[in-house]
């Protein structure tokens, strides 16, 4: 299946893309998507303990199962205000 991965702020810069399509096995969850992303962009690995995740524009756990067409976003620590 394919999912859309969204990246923000420094994650976006490290990956060189704000959005990319990722092919994943059918039983994938958000963590699978992150691990797949890190394989293609090892510089992201340092963020593993710091990321938050959202699936289809809602905060989600890394254990959240994904389905074809989902949008999964990875967020570095936030700094709004």
């Amino acid at each position: 299946m394919f999912v859309t991965v969204r990246l923000f702020a420094r994650l976006r810069e490290l990956a060189g893309a704000s959005e990319l399509q990722q092919e994943l096995p059918d039983e994938a969850n958000a963590k699978t998507a992150w691990q797949s992303l890190v394989r293609t962009c090892p510089a992201l690995a340092e963020y593993e303990p710091l990321i938050s995740c959202a699936v289809n524009e809602e905060y989600a756990r890394l254990s959240t199962p994904l389905k074809h067409g989902d949008e999964v976003a990875f967020l570095p620590p936030v700094s709004g205000g």
Binding site: R10, S52, A54, A73, P76, S79, G80, G81
Partner: protein, 157 residues
């Protein structure tokens, strides 16, 4: 009457946002305006570029509004954040809480800005003399009850 929870590149108008929450029952309006300052961590700041995951930011602001309403049912809240480049002295965020009495307005306003700092998917890209840096604060986790408790304690201190 606009949306009480918004994020966009438009300049923030405090009076307009205040008008969204003020009713004849309100005797108090507490307003927090976050503005871009000219220094940070020893650096001379030139401007800040704000990036956001806008749809999630809106629903997160709404969630913060619901959290505040649970604790301070009489308070009406608005949260507006800006994206894109924001100059020194300009507002990046406005939180307004209106209520019949001042105690609830102050507390709800403080609570809401603390929660924005904790969980809103917004990032500062600070441009300073000699470079630029992404500011990274809290790991956003809306389900973290300890963080929520910290926001309550700050609101009520």
């Amino acid at each position: 009457m606009g949306n009480r929870f918004e994020i966009s590149a438009e300049p923030l108008e405090v009076a307009v946002i205040t008008g969204m929450v003020t009713t004849p029952q309100c005797g108090a309006v507490a307003t927090f305006v976050g503005i871009v300052r000219d220094h940070n961590a020893g650096r001379k700041v030139l401007w800040i570029d704000y990036e956001a995951y806008a749809p999630l930011a809106r629903t997160t602001f709404e969630k913060i509004g619901r959290e505040a309403a649970e604790r301070w049912p009489s308070a009406q809240i608005a949260i507006h954040h800006r994206t894109g480049p924001v100059a020194i002295g300009e507002a990046s965020v406005v939180v307004v809480a209106a209520s019949p009495h001042r105690a609830d307005a102050f507390a709800a306003c403080r609570y809401a800005i603390e929660r924005v700092k904790q969980i809103a998917p917004v990032w500062k890209h600070e441009h300073f003399e000699g470079g630029e840096v992404w500011i990274e604060g809290a790991v956003a986790n809306p389900d973290d009850e300890a963080a929520r408790q910290v926001a309550f304690e700050r609101a009520c201190s």
